[in-house]
């Protein structure tokens, strides 16, 4: 029976080619625009640490002076050197990492390649296990390496490819801005999207290419980059930034269950009160523990424009559907005579209805294929632009399946009203008017 319906549908398409093409193009454009914008939204608002983001937290304190005090404003998302090192050494969380971004010139031990500038992250060793960063060769460094200012480095796959032609470079030497570091690990390609652990260096920045222990990097005076907020006599001079009244380091902790979160919260609160009592903090004691998702929401990382574009595209899709419903209605009514004949010859109302919905669904399938092509085209256009989404905008399996499903379901539903309307017309009336 289904085969017969298909045959009838194809016959009907052939009879009104322009109208059919118009419906397919409308559905395809609507689907294509919606899927392009939804894919962009999907990649930009993804989970930066799949499976982990619920247990990674940002401890926050308020060490600023009383200038511009607003008890309702968000606490700083960075810490001072003193607080960062104190919290790091307290080791009250399962894992904790104190870090800052930077940029540094690198060169391999094969001196023929000119030094070039890469982005760097100066961090303590828990960065890798806490964020689940995968290693291709070797491993990260230990807390002892951190405390001992070990001259080691971990490099990204891209840097390993460029400097060491992708070979295992563990044990080789990396010249970093005049100092020699021993490579202990090479990462698999990895990046957190968004770049949640340091939004100031780019909300959708790629991962850094070289990782150096924080204390080692400070000792070597490697170049620091990123956001810095000072107050009072705080100065941004890199040489004395450790003692400045500035927040410039990011501190993240891993807390695996509710009990650990509660106990860390209590610890942090105690720390804040202690600093107020010591007179180091002049504002009323405040502390907070923010998880990754809440932090990204708070900072409104996903550009509002991306959401706006999704709404516009969905509105466009609705218009395309309304358009298709109207055209389908016209088309079905035009074929009403034929339907009357089929009804008179004994086809039930239900079978006529089913046949018309099959016809609508077929338009949905064709619209889905077209929509996919339009979405691919749309994403190619997005990649041409220099926006945050440019490098990330690729269609994945989920979106692909969603494109088809949305197109078919939407058109089938769009076909219901016209089909119901067309099969309700009394058969005798239609025959008579012939």
């Amino acid at each position: 029976m289904f085969g017969y319906y298909l045959e009838l549908a194809l016959h009907s398409f052939r009879r009104s080619r322009a109208l059919t093409a118009l419906m397919i193009v409308a559905v395809a454009l609507g689907i294509g625009a919606s899927m392009t914008t939804l894919t962009v939204l999907h990649v930009l608002s993804g989970d930066p640490l799949p499976g982990r983001s619920g247990s990674v937290f940002l401890p926050r304190l308020d060490p600023r002076d009383r200038d511009g005090y607003d008890p309702y404003a968000a606490l700083p998302s960075q810490v001072t050197w003193t607080d960062g090192v104190d919290l790091l050494h307290a080791r009250r969380a399962a894992r904790q990492a104190l870090m800052v971004g930077g940029a540094t010139a690198v060169q391999s031990d094969e001196r023929e390649v000119d030094p070039y500038l890469v982005t760097a992250r100066y961090t303590t060793g828990d960065f890798f296990p806490m964020f689940g960063v995968p290693f291709r060769f070797g491993a990260g460094w230990s807390a002892a390496d951190d405390d001992g200012h070990a001259r080691v480095a971990v490099i990204a796959a891209s840097l390993n490819d460029r400097l060491f032609h992708g070979r295992n470079s563990v044990g080789r030497t990396l010249h970093v801005d005049g100092a020699d570091l021993r490579i202990v690990g090479v990462l698999e390609p990895w990046r957190a999207v968004p770049h949640f652990y340091d939004l100031a260096t780019g909300e959708y920045a790629g991962a850094e290419e070289v990782f150096v222990p924080l204390f080692t990097a400070r000792e070597l005076k490697l170049k620091r980059n990123g956001g810095i907020e000072c107050w009072g006599q705080g100065r941004t001079d890199d040489d004395r930034i450790e003692s400045s009244t500035c927040v410039w380091l990011q501190f993240w902790v891993q807390l695996d269950d509710a009990a650990a979160v509660a106990s860390y919260r209590a610890f942090l609160d105690g720390y804040a009160h202690e600093q107020v009592a010591l007179g180091r903090f002049t504002r009323p004691s405040a502390s907070d523990l923010t998880n990754v998702r809440r932090y990204l929401d708070e900072r409104q990382v996903v550009p509002g424009d991306v959401r706006l574009q999704v709404w516009i595209a969905l509105g466009f899709f609705v218009v395309c559907l309304v358009n298709t419903v109207g055209l389908m209605l016209a088309k079905f009514m035009r074929g009403a005579g034929e339907l009357g004949v089929r009804r008179a010859l004994g086809a039930s109302r239900r079978s006529v209805f089913t046949q018309l919905v099959v016809e609508a669904t077929l338009i949905g399938v064709a619209g889905g294929v077209g929509g996919l092509l339009f979405a691919l085209l749309g994403l190619a256009l997005v990649r041409l632009q220099s926006t945050a989404a440019a490098q990330l905008a690729h269609l994945d399996g989920t979106m692909l399946a969603a494109t088809f499903a949305a197109s078919i379901v939407a058109t089938a539903l769009a076909g219901v009203v016209p089909a119901w309307r067309a099969c309700r017309v009394p058969a005798a009336l239609q025959l008579k008017s012939q």
Binding site: A18, L19, L22, V25, A26, L29, A33, T37, D65, R66, D67, G68, Y69, A103, A105, P115, Y116, L117, D177, G178, K221, K223, W231, G232, Q233, R235, T236, D237, D238, R240, P303, G304, D305, R307, L308, Q309, I312, A313, G315, F316, V318, V319, C320, V322, N323, V325, G326, L327, L329, A330, K331, M333, R334, V382, Q385, S386, T387, A388, V417, R421
Partner: protein, 405 residues
């Protein structure tokens, strides 16, 4: 002119569902297109914010020197002397920032020395002769004298006192001092006491806080070194920007072959990067609006053709009873006009509703009423254009059709 509105309405009543769908489609199109045009205009306005600087002739080169050797001040001066000697270069300095360049240096200033007094966030501009080099117009007072400059790195290391003079923009002057004369007034910035010596027409910040506060900037008399955020800022001679950029990069490499050029961009390229997201949004909105209008036009063509096909006999009868081709043509045009009007009426209400949501979600200004007639005019024109071909086909139905079938 005789408009046969009543018979049209009674016909439409017999095609209630189809007519409703068309009205709905026109309404949605009208609502989305009016808002899209408004948003595009809003973005274009922001993207073309004037900076008051000689945009076409400016460029910035950021370098990273490997290792720290020798007298950093002497090296910076030597670099600048070399750059200034290039044939295509008119002026060169080391500065911290450019309008709409993304990397922003902020602080806040207050009119009162009291801690906790209300403060205004401002963008900071540093660099010897930076305001003059950029071409920012002075509307009152003077630029800095050369003896007022000090090295920023000396200050950060405690070897030089803080600044005592500042240039502010006219917008900021109005915000801080109202209509009073800002020259000679004092500003307090975290312990520094600044006397206003000059007022610039405008100088938007690197990130431009919000649009109405884009020009809240001050200039401080710091000499910079090409480290900690400082970059070479060069003004080329008329028409020699590209060549000057290439030559300047070569010269900097020649002076220190081991230095890494982090970025070398002309100002238009820097500015384009800053507004990339806005441009992408404007392009998307424009593309969707055009597609929407095309789809709606084709929908009108489709439905009108269907109606013409369905009413061939009636048209034939009307023609046989004496209606002219023009009458038939006008009938379909009027029908479309009525449908479009209903759609536009509904669409304006929808447009207004969408705008209210946008205002709440995206902090956009209200939709100026002028956009509504614009949207209406576009849809009326579109409807008439789309219905013309089917209506002409209807008008060409011969009276003899009435006698057949």
């Amino acid at each position: 002119m005789r408009l046969d509105v009543l018979p049209i309405l009674s016909t439409l009543r017999r095609h209630r569902l189809t007519a409703t769908l068309l009205v709905l489609q026109i309404a949605l199109t009208c609502a989305i297109v009016s808002n899209a045009i408004f948003l595009i205009g809003d973005r274009l306005g922001w993207m073309t914010t004037p900076t008051g600087v000689a945009e076409d002739r400016l460029m910035r080169i950021v370098v990273s020197d490997i290792g720290r050797r020798g007298d950093i001040h002497a090296r910076a001066q030597a670099d600048l002397a070399e750059l200034r000697g290039l044939p295509g270069v008119e002026a060169a300095t080391i500065g911290n920032s450019l309008p709409f360049s993304g990397t922003t240096w902020n602080s806040d200033v207050s009119r009162s020395p009291v801690q906790g007094a209300p403060a205004t966030a401002v963008t900071l501009y540093y660099g010897e002769g930076l305001a003059e080099l950029l071409g920012s117009r002075l509307v009152a007072g003077r630029f800095f004298r050369s003896d007022e400059y000090a090295w920023l790195d000396d200050h950060l290391q405690g070897k030089a006192p803080g600044p005592t003079v500042t240039l502010i923009t006219r917008d900021l002057a109005t915000r801080l001092f109202g209509d009073g004369d800002p020259l000679g007034r004092t500003l307090y910035m975290h312990g520094d006491v600044l006397r206003v010596v000059g007022v610039l027409e405008r100088l938007p910040g690197a990130a431009g806080f919000t649009r109405d506060r884009a020009n809240d900037s001050i200039v401080l008399p710091w000499r910079m070194v090409p480290a900690s955020g400082g970059g070479y800022i060069v003004r080329a001679r008329e028409g020699e920007t590209q060549k000057a950029l290439v030559d300047a990069v070569k010269a900097l490499k020649r002076l220190d072959p081991r230095r890494v050029i982090v970025s070398a961009r002309t100002y238009p390229a820097i500015r384009a990067r800053f507004f990339a997201d806005d441009r992408a949004t404007a392009v998307t909105l424009a593309a969707v609006s055009i597609a929407l209008l095309v789809i709606t036009a084709l929908g009108i063509v489709g439905l009108a053709s269907f109606w013409v096909g369905q009413r061939r006999r009636q048209i034939g009868i009307r023609r046989a009873l004496g209606a002219s081709r023009k009458d038939i043509l006008r009938y379909f045009q009027t029908e479309n006009f009525l449908l479009a009007s209903m759609g536009i009426g509904l669409g304006m209400v929808l447009a207004y509703g969408i705008n209210i949501v946008l205002m709440r979600e995206y902090e956009l200004p209200g939709l100026p009423l002028v956009y509504l007639p614009v949207g209406a005019a576009i849809l009326w024109a579109l409807g008439q254009a789309a219905v013309l071909a089917p209506a002409l086909r209807a008008a060409s139905v011969p009276p003899v059709v009435a006698t057949r079938g």
